[in-house]
């Protein structure tokens, strides 16, 4: 594996909810310009880790650095402004805003004068190139002026991804973006991931869909019971006996279409 710049570095991060340790001193990193996968069985602490990285769960120990800057104590919106985007497992769109407006929320940055400008100044038409690119990439251009509640579950997922991408983040954490998509949709979605890295967006993909993760990721980290049990290329992960025991069960390691532990 060639040496690349480490965009996100996680050092001994621990997340506790009451007496339960969801993430136990996890150290890992995400290299710039790549698609990194994070997999693990249910309850392994994947979403807790994503929440901790993006400021939605309290970090009780360890450090998170984004491009060398310590972001461990920053609030969620500050991290988002530091080019760290994320999606949610449960989608969580702004249901009263159109698809385009959902994306615009991600793309805009508040300034102290925004309120004065936006109430007193003339209306600006924000024709951000980024929005158009995102809508095109995800095939949402035809529904840009619809409300999310009018779309299918799969396309709602894509709006969630689009909203995170519209901010043109350097790193985007996708929390189970393919859950709820059928296998065709999932395939199409996987092909978008490459377009992201070509556009300069690094991806951390958290998903249950083993086929997607194994086929699209450059590097994979495996969590179990809040700890990292393996990391490496898809080939190495497929062959790793601990991963097979923990995650893939007794099935043959050579099968790439293992269903995993779907919810």
């Amino acid at each position: 594996m060639s040496e690349r710049a480490r965009l996100l570095v996680i050092e001994d991060v621990t997340v506790r909810y009451g007496g339960l340790t969801a993430v136990d001193a996890v150290s890992m990193h995400v290299e710039a310009g790549r698609v990194t996968g994070l997999i693990g069985p249910n309850g392994a602490g994947k979403t807790s880790l994503v929440d901790a990285l993006t400021g939605f769960a309290p970090v009780s120990g360890g450090r998170v650095r984004l491009d060398g800057n310590d972001i461990t104590r920053m609030s969620a919106h500050q991290r988002a402004r530091r080019d760290l985007g994320r999606t949610f497992q449960s989608i969580e769109l702004f249901d009263d805003l159109t698809v385009r407006e959902n994306l615009l929320v991600g793309a805009s940055r508040a300034r102290w004068w925004s309120l004065f400008r936006d109430t007193l100044g003339p209306t600006r038409e924000l024709a951000s190139r980024n929005i158009a690119w995102t809508l095109d990439l995800l095939g949402l251009a035809d529904v840009a002026d619809r409300l999310p509640t009018q779309l299918s579950q799969g396309r709602r997922k894509l709006v969630g991804v689009g909203r995170a991408l519209a901010a043109n983040p350097r790193l985007v954490l996708l929390d189970e973006p393919a859950a709820g998509l059928d296998s065709d949709e999932s395939e199409v979605f996987g092909s978008h991931l490459r377009a992201l890295t070509e556009h300069g967006i690094t991806v951390l993909l958290v998903d249950h869909d083993m086929r997607l993760v194994l086929s699209r990721c450059d590097t994979i980290w495996v969590l179990e019971f809040g700890r990292v049990i393996a990391s490496g290329t898809p080939e190495a992960i497929r062959a790793d006996p601990r991963v097979i025991a923990a995650y893939l069960g007794d099935r043959s390691a050579s099968t790439t279409s293992v269903g995993g532990a779907n919810e």
Partner: protein
């Protein structure tokens, strides 16, 4: 020492009533997940019924029993007609519905029972008794005893009976309760019946001590809410204890306020105390009312895209000017048209804070009052000219808006409504009722306005003044429309829809809420200062907390998340155009009752408000006549159906 004890005992009367009202609030919340702002009004209504029955010759105890039964029936009726249909509605809709009940009952009382003062027979023996060297009426001990017994009985009943456990189960998880075979409907109805009977008890017991007055009585809700809030809307004993303590402390304040330093605003302290209790409770316990596990959470009113249609602005403006010309000579109509526009401005402030950001504020008329107050101080006492006085008054309200917005960073929904109405009461009692500052009985004076050396005195030149207000209204409406279509507006709606997702997309949720409160206070105070100029003399009853409550109710009915709704709310507001028009047809007295009932019906049937429903209807008719070519039209018409579907899926 003697005095301390005496005043403590005297305070037991009010304290017991706060406690009993608080118990009723807890019951209703447990049983149906609603914070009932009409609870004190129900108590007053029951007290009137009781007096009426005794006047008709029934003996006291029979009248008492009959009143309790009637109150229970009334509770069941309210539950089935108002609360149950809103089971899946957003919290604000349910809150507004109880405001509708409050408005209806409050306006019904003078019609049914007349305006004459009534003496209320006391059920409890009030002969003097001496304890520890202090002599007082025996009824205070009875009140305390009744409170304790009720609290113990309720606590035991809700812990040890099947019904009590079912209520608890439904409050925590409605779906689970259904699966266990309990009917949430029956549980809700039963709890409403018990709660309304308790309200009747409270009303009948307190009436001989205070007097039957709508204003004071309805605002008894505040100490009761404070008590229930400390009890987290679930603990009977904590609620009752807090209620009694508030009553006792208020009594001690009346005893000792003469000894407070002179600069201290003394009059307001007694009424502001419940507010202080609320704030402390908020800070100590954080998220106060536990979220109820209902079947599904309803969507807030639809926020229209905020497009400005120049044609309609021109038509509207022309209609207003035509109205002012036609109404020439009729002071009633001239001032009604102008007042409607002013109320429209204040309602637009609600569109920003409640419609766009989803923060329920019951303090908007207080902001308006602050504007009026400031105008008088600036213009009358310091000779500041018209336009600068307006601008400065509106700006002065901004820090107050920010201050009241601060709790919104920690609490939301109904909790915030309680905090803001507490703040409204505090502002009312500290500033507006303070005779040193607010001119006492005469009110504060305001000079006649002139614009660039041109008199726009509303008495002498009502059309000029009306035209000026129209310009301000249009400016505010355009501003709020612009806001809706801007980045800031999208961030506001993002916060309203989903705070988590907003933060994940770089939206500073706290800053966004505070901006909304600041802008909203500015607009409301602007409206209030114009109202001061219109009246020429400020009487602060127009800015009382009750007025804020009515304004929210009307704005919600009209469409709280759309600019057209805000303007419509102005037309509908009490004292406005429709008020006068309806007054021509039927008696003025009925206006409140009609608005209350309409409010409830609209909340249940038109969740997005009248203005939005109306524009959908006209567009649908337009679509039947011509083929659509506007994509947005399609979206808006499809909208309600789609939303029902997502509510039905109930996934969140």
């Amino acid at each position: 020492m003697h005095d301390v004890l005496l005043f403590a005992v005297l305070g037991l009367g009010a304290g017991a009533v706060y406690a009993i009202l608080g118990l009723g609030l807890v019951l209703v919340h447990r049983g149906s997940g609603v914070v009932n702002f009409a609870h004190a009004a129900i108590a007053l209504f029951a007290a009137y019924v009781f007096v009426d029955l005794t006047d008709r010759g029934l003996d006291h105890w029979t009248a008492f029993a009959v009143t309790l039964v009637l109150a229970a029936c009334g509770g069941v009726l309210i539950y089935f007609l108002v609360i149950r249909p809103l089971r899946e509605a957003p919290a604000l809709a349910r809150l507004v519905a109880t405001l509708g009940v409050l408005l209806t009952l409050q306006s019904l009382m003078p019609i049914v029972f007349g305006l004459d003062a009534r003496t209320v027979p006391s059920l409890l023996p009030s002969d003097p008794v001496e304890v520890l060297g202090v002599t007082f009426g025996r009824d205070r001990l009875w009140l305390l005893g009744i409170t304790i017994v009720l609290t113990v009985v309720l606590s035991a009943a809700y812990r040890f009976t099947r019904f009590g456990r079912a209520t608890q189960a439904a409050a925590e998880n409605e779906k689970g309760a259904i699966l266990l075979g309990y009917s949430p409907t029956m549980i809700g109805a039963a709890n409403w019946a018990i709660a309304c009977s308790l309200a009747a008890v409270a009303g009948i017991l307190i009436a001989p001590i205070t007097s039957l007055s709508a204003t004071t009585f309805t605002l008894l809700i505040l100490p009761a809410l404070a008590a229930a809030l400390v009890g987290r809307f679930s603990s009977f004993s904590l609620t009752a204890l807090t209620g009694v303590l508030i009553g006792v402390t208020q009594s001690e304040i009346t005893r000792y306020q003469g000894e407070l330093p002179g600069w201290f605003p003394q009059q307001g302290l007694k009424d502001a105390l419940p507010f202080l209790v609320i704030i402390v409770a908020m800070i100590v316990t954080g998220k106060l009312i536990p979220r109820r596990g209902t079947l599904s959470e309803g969507r807030p009113p639809f926020a229209t895209p905020g497009l400005i249609r120049p044609r309609w602005v021109l038509v509207g403006a022309a209609a207003v000017m035509l109205g002012l010309i036609v109404a020439e000579g009729s002071t009633t109509y001239e001032s009604a048209i102008t007042y409607s526009m002013i109320a429209g401005i204040v309602s637009l402030s609600l569109v920003v804070v409640t419609g766009y950001v989803g923060q329920i504020s019951l303090a908007q008329m207080s902001f308006a009052g602050v504007g009026a107050f400031a105008v008088s101080k600036l213009a009358e006492e310091n000779g500041v000219p018209f336009l600068p006085a307006l601008a400065l008054s509106a700006l002065i309200a901004v820090p107050i808006g920010l201050l009241i917005g601060l709790p919104a960073l920690r609490v939301r929904g109904v909790n915030l409504a309680i905090v803001t109405i507490g703040a409204a009461v505090a502002i009312d009692s500290f500033i507006f009722q303070n005779t040193d500052w607010s001119g006492g009985f005469d009110g504060l004076g305001v000079p006649k306005p002139t614009l660039f050396g041109w008199s726009i005195d509303p008495a002498a030149h009502p059309q000029r003044f009306g035209a000026f207000v129209l310009v301000v209204l249009i400016a505010c409406a355009v501003m709020v429309c612009q806001l809706r279509r801007s980045d800031t507006g999208r961030r506001m709606l993002a916060v309203r829809d989903n705070e988590r997702a907003a933060a994940a997309n770089g939206v500073n949720v706290a800053a966004t809420k505070l901006q909304a409160f600041a802008l909203s206070a500015f607009i409301a105070a602007l409206g209030g200062s114009i109202l001061a100029y219109q009246s020429g003399r400020i009487s602060f009853q127009r800015f009382s907390p009750l007025q804020s409550i009515f304004l929210v109710a009307i704005a919600y009915t009209a469409g709280i998340a759309s600019v057209s709704g805000g303007i419509l709310a102005g037309v509908l507001a009490g004292g406005g155009l429709s008020f006068v028009l309806v007054g021509e047809l039927v008696l003025d007295d009925w206006y409140g009752v009609i608005s209350g009932v309409v409010l409830i019906v609209v909340v249940i049937t038109q969740p997005d408000g009248m203005a939005v429903s109306w524009s959908r209807l006209t567009r649908r008719i337009g679509r039947l006549r011509a083929r659509p070519h506007d994509a947005l039209t399609e979206v808006d018409v499809v909208q309600p159906v789609e939303r029902r579907m997502t509510v039905a899926q109930g996934t969140r």
